[in-house]
Amino acid sequence: MKTQPIDQFACTLPPEKRQSVYNGTKATHEKRTKLLAGDFADPDRLRQLAGEVKQHVIENLDTLLPQVEERLTAGGAQVHWAADAAAARRHVLAILQRRGATRLVKAKTMVSEEIELAPFLEAHGIECLETDLGEFIVQIDHDHPSHIVRPIIHKNRREIATSFEKNGLGAYNDAPEVITRRAREFMRKKYLAADAGMTGANFVVAESGRLVVVTNEGNSRFSLAAPKCHIALVGIEKLLPRDRDLALFLNLLARSATAQQLTVYTEFIRGPRAAGQPDGPEEMHVIFVDNGRTDVLAGECREILRCIRCGACMNVCPVYRQVSGHAYRSVYPGPVGAVLSPLLAGEDFLEKADLPKASSLCGACNEVCPVNIPIPDLLLRLRDKGKRAGAASPGLPPMGPWALLASQPVVWKAALIGGRLLDYIPPGLIPVPAMHAWAASRTLPKWRGGVFRKWLRQREKRKTETGERKA
């Protein structure tokens, strides 16, 4: 049976991985929904409002970006612009090399995954340590994150304990407290020895130049407070117009991402250490990364740039729950990734053109998205784009003949009658691959083609006859 790559991946996924992903996503989704409904009279209205604010942002980047550069610079930060991944990597390297830095501690940032920063820095002799516990485990396992908020949602604690043991972080012990304590002890020393710290930003406020970073582990606070140099890597779409917008967005982000009313740590950063401040980095750099975003902005799927990377869409997605994030062959998995990854792939669009098809178009993602992105519509647009670009579509019957049939009523009616044959031929012998795929796990109802139309006609006839008799 010829099926799509993601369907094939699903067949190879070990059941315990699927179970980990399913349990984790389902629990967070259900908690999120309860929390939002309990805390707000009309959470949907909040999602719509937040969507409008972000839509405003992406449509006004041309004025908001210069504004934020001006505010950041006034606050003492240095602003850099990176058109693509290579430029972003070069900026980071140049900053580090200028300072003679060889040890970088890194909080979680998806952009750094996107530009494949860590291997690049390692190749230039710079140690690059992930300090988010999940990302750290991904790093020591030479694995990839499978969720944008919970990178190791596909692992259970036994696997984690094993890799800790393998990496010299103590004898096997799978108690979560022990794992966390060991990671913390290991990292404390690293923070103190680091030359530079890197974070992302969940929001950057245009009016104030304020960077906002939310975490639950406090690792971002260490990463930006202990070393002398702070580098923030930020996608150009991460802006919010005003400080007051944070009220809406912080409320929605924590609930959507981790089903919390507020994350444990929320950092507001206005620049490097100012005169008179006792502590903090002496240098702060903000690197704004485009890497294909302006092309997305120019296209028909620009709403995806509203995304605040909360992960709610993957938590609710029935396909993601069955296949895990690795099935998407991309930094961004799940519904958001199925839209964003092919778009950010640029010239390699065709390599990712199957991702938008990995959806039953159920719309659950749109229903939970805190910025109300019409993800199913965007998936559909990308399917159309893929078809026009000549993307392969294994298992899919061609639609041309069907369209011909469905626009010729006479042929259609004949086919309805002729379809009775289906009842007499075993599905395995019907030379249509789609039929085999259907029949492998389901029966087909008995063919009743034309029966409804016949019922109508007979009724019509009876009516005329009774009418004639009456007359």
Partner: protein, 257 residues
């Protein structure tokens, strides 16, 4: 879902879009739809030339092929009458999907005209006609699957309202009700393993609630779920919501023969 503002139905006549699945497999759901509408005093017109709504090609990404079918739909249903569809999915194709597919087409206004008068059955009964309770009798515990295409519309609430009002009906709750059944049109054959896994999960939740009937507003979801169940050797009794409404009339002696 961005949908278009609907015109309130005036007059006593409607057009029926029976859907290709009713045409091929579920004739009784279409018959029940006619009987339900006629019970309310409406005249039902069935444009003979109708085929399909164009959704298979639309979802498959072949928007060219889809537009071809939608244009046939436009010709077939050309009128000012409300169009009633016993399927949230086909209805949404008309009032949402087609609008996307025709965004840059010259005949978009015609698509909009059709979109403005197209209704899913339960939505039409409750929000179009203002019917909020249903007479007769239907004995049984019903698990009502809210098809995904009812998201962002008032169809699911409408169907639940009607069924809850029927003497004898109890609606049973089941786990993960917001999750898709795994059908998804061409998805069910291009991603058969994922589709199957989704369907099994749905069946598991449904069976735990021990309903007598699985009821839905779309025959497509019912076809998928009942097909899976039957293949397992554990068939489920399933009904389209129109059949429940019609059977209630029948059981209450309210349906003219």
């Amino acid at each position: 879902m961005t949908t278009i503002e609907r015109k309130p139905p005036l007059g006593k006549k409607v057009q029926l879009m029976a859907t290709c699945l009713c045409d091929a497999f579920y004739d009784d759901a279409a018959i029940a739809t006619v009987q339900v509408l006629e019970h309310l005093g409406l005249t039902v017109e069935f444009p003979e030339a109708q085929t399909c709504c164009g959704q298979p090609a639309f979802n498959a990404g072949d928007w060219n092929a889809s537009r071809r079918v939608v244009r046939h739909l436009l010709r077939t249903f050309k009128s000012e009458l409300p169009v009633v569809v016993p399927s949230s999915s086909c209805a949404a194709m008309v009032f949402h999907g087609a609008l996307l597919a025709f965004e840059h087409e010259r005949d978009l206004p015609e698509v909009e005209q059709l979109a403005r008068r197209t209704w899913e059955l339960a939505d039409f009964l409750v929000n179009g006609l203002g019917v909020t309770s249903w007479p007769g009798r239907f004995d049984g515990a019903i698990a009502f699957h809210r098809s995904c295409h009812t998201r962002g519309t008032r169809s699911a609430e409408a169907a639940a309202t009607l069924m809850r009002s029927i003497p004898g009906v109890t609606l049973v709750e089941f786990g993960e009700a917001e999750q898709c059944c795994g059908f998804g049109g061409t998805f069910s054959v291009t991603f058969p393993h994922i589709s199957e896994a989704m369907g099994r999960l749905k069946l598991q939740h449904l069976r735990a609630a021990q309903p007598q009937f699985l009821v839905g507003v779309d025959t497509s979801c019912l076809m998928h779920l009942s097909g899976l169940a039957e293949k397992e050797g554990r068939p489920v009794q399933h009904r389209h919501v129109a059949q429940v409404l019609r059977d209630a009339l029948k059981n209450g002696g309210l349906l003219a023969a």
